[in-house]
Symmetry: C2
């Protein structure tokens, strides 16, 4: 168990308090598991209450027993029903009036209405999430070290996939072995996403035609899965010679995620796949040259897209047919879909200590998905890759 | 791939339409993955639009390509941005005015506000989820058959746990093997929950003192996990002789969940554990005698609680210390936290074809968790258990 350093938790709270003051939010109530972990160092059934000044208060419904044994760097109070919250906060001088800030992108509408109509009918409620997501883009040395732990086990497991891959093994069998190995190495299992219905289980292990199947989640690859009940990811299709086999997995250690995609083939890939792969490598080189603090993600996106267009492959880029996604990289950290997004209109420039999964991928009709993904850290001197297994097609 | 029968999808829609008419909802917009699967037989990034009369329309943002290859028993339309939705629905005569129904218990507040303020500023928005959850309580023969598939692989894997359990194996190692076996047998991986922050990954594999650790999720057992980033479930604790080892897992096949808990011990349990187990068995017998269509869950809950109180064990029941949960059973189906709940104030009587995970559990100081869980179907003649592995302590 490696907790986030106490002084780091406090400093995260201070940064948020500055933005609360700027935004005119008098009381932030943080409830989402990833956000609670980030701002409180702890995950409970409850809320972290924080005003623009002073100390926070952790409101805990559950578990009470464990919390009493644990040292917290700030006070906590217990409650049973959320209707007790205004009185508890009133007693400690937290938020008598002014705007409330809550995580409106993830908070259920019914709970929002209860706060607005019953608990705080006089106070406007503003969306706290844009502030939180903006601050969480920049990772601390502690956070980078945790993402490196995730990246390390992911590297090991993706390299070890060569021991399992052979013709006749199913996508599901391959996925299950890799998931098992990740678990034994300390993958926490759960991979958090922020988007509604952005469901995910480890990732996507696909081959040949499966690789071109878009799913209902906003990711370039998808796959069919093996049931209508969860139509994404590995299916029952058997691995076959000459087809690209793509393993796109997320590892999560101590809450922190790394994301990586590698390619394998039994035998050899068809020529068009190798040609697309040359372009993938060119895009990685371009990204490494251009991704720097201060660069706008939209400019970077267009630069990469120009290269793709010059090669006449824009219709195959980042998805199949009309199901292409409009980004080529996404932040990772406590969630798989963090900021920044390398997309046309993302509003903030790149900055040092952002951690981004860069995943240029092509979807070739009749062949499948060709591309790699690596998780890297933006530094003043360029990209430091945190996932580091050989970026190659493993031929078996 | 076994789809839900087409006529069943249509009949589910008809039942919902009746409740829409009663509730004065002119347009239901269904978006949650489990609800879309239930009412559309398909999971997409989009909405199923349904009025109290007539045919539904499936609004699809993604995936478009796959959908064009698939036969649907109702029309579909594509969109890119949700602001197009009112115009598309207006063209097919779906909902010009009157109340909107949306899944407010799971829909993010920000999206709710966009609908209320921008898309449909003139229309009240009512919570659709109570209607959906009420209808989804009663399972069809097709649904029961899918839950049986999940129960069957769960039985097999829980029995096979005896091959792995020995002193010195860690909770995580045991959990990882069982998860791997479930995956190979067709577990879809993802186990859906409805509650906000009700995070879950397969379930909880715990031993001795771990069994008494409440977590941040509303479940009787919890465990510490092995990181602050996901503090629940199996930890790094090693299995040791004389401690109760509890394996509480959910299996999910074709979207449908079964939930089961079994106990194991290396050597023998201490006497107080066996005494608590006698009471667990008595509670199962009582439940089998009393759980019938027409019975109020609150009455059943109190009857069971009286038995617990008569044995002086109310402080150990359904959780440790002040972290006890206030139910003894919960519906399962497409989600792990479905209706009905066997709790004091649940408003609907039991009915035939409800499927309930019944889990009387005691938390003994210094010993750990003692209890079983089985998933069963309510029939006019009593409970038919769908999970059927021997309900015993496996001594190794």
């Amino acid at each position: 168990m490696i907790p986030a350093p106490e002084e780091e938790i406090v400093s995260r709270q201070r940064y948020l308090q500055e933005l609360l003051a700027e935004a005119g939010i008098e009381l932030a109530l943080i409830r989402q598991a990833a956000d609670l972990y980030y701002y409180g160092g702890i995950i409970v059934d409850g809320f972290l209450a924080l005003g623009p000044l002073g100390e926070p208060l952790l409101l805990v419904r559950r578990p009470q027993h464990r919390l009493q044994e644990q040292e917290l760097p700030f006070p906590a109070a217990f409650f049973k029903d959320i209707k007790e919250i205004p009185a508890i906060l009133g007693q400690v001088g937290l938020g008598h009036d002014g705007a409330l800030g809550m995580e409106l992108d993830v908070m259920p509408a019914a709970l929002y209405r209860r706060f607005r109509e019953q608990l705080y009918p006089q106070r406007p409620i503003l969306d706290l999430s844009p502030l939180i997501r903006r601050l969480r883009m920049i990772k601390s040395p502690f956070e980078i070290s945790q993402i490196k732990r995730a990246a390390h086990i992911l590297d090991e497991v993706l390299v070890s996939a060569v021991e399992v891959i052979e013709a006749g093994v199913s996508e599901l069998e391959l996925a299950a072995v890799l998931e098992y190995r990740l678990r034994l190495k300390g993958h926490q299992g759960l991979v958090r996403t922020r988007g509604w219905n952005l469901e995910m289980f480890f990732g996507h292990v696909l081959s040949g035609a499966s690789g071109n199947q878009a799913a209902y989640v906003d990711t370039p690859s998808g796959g069919t899965g093996f049931s209508h009940g969860f139509p994404q990811g590995a299916g029952t299709k058997l691995l076959a010679p000459g087809e690209p086999i793509s393993v796109d997995l997320a590892a999560c250690v101590n809450g922190y995620i790394a994301d990586e995609t590698r390619l394998y083939v039994v035998g050899d890939l068809p020529d068009p796949a190798w040609e697309a792969l040359t372009l993938v490598e060119k895009l990685f080189t371009l990204y490494e040259q251009e991704a720097r603090p201060g660069v706008m993600p939209g400019d970077l996106y267009h630069l990469l897209l120009e290269e793709v267009k010059a090669a006449g492959r824009q219709d195959q880029f980042m998805g199949f047919g009309q199901d292409r996604v409009l980004y080529v990289g996404h932040g990772v950290g406590l969630e798989l879909d963090e900021f920044p997004i390398i997309a046309a209109k993302f509003p903030y420039p790149l900055a040092a200590e952002m951690v981004i999964a860069f995943e240029p991928k092509f979807f070739l009709p009749g062949i499948g998905m060709i591309g790699f993904e690596d998780t890297g850290r933006i530094t003043p001197d360029g990209v430091e890759w945190l996932t580091r297994s050989p970026r190659q097609v493993w031929q078996l």
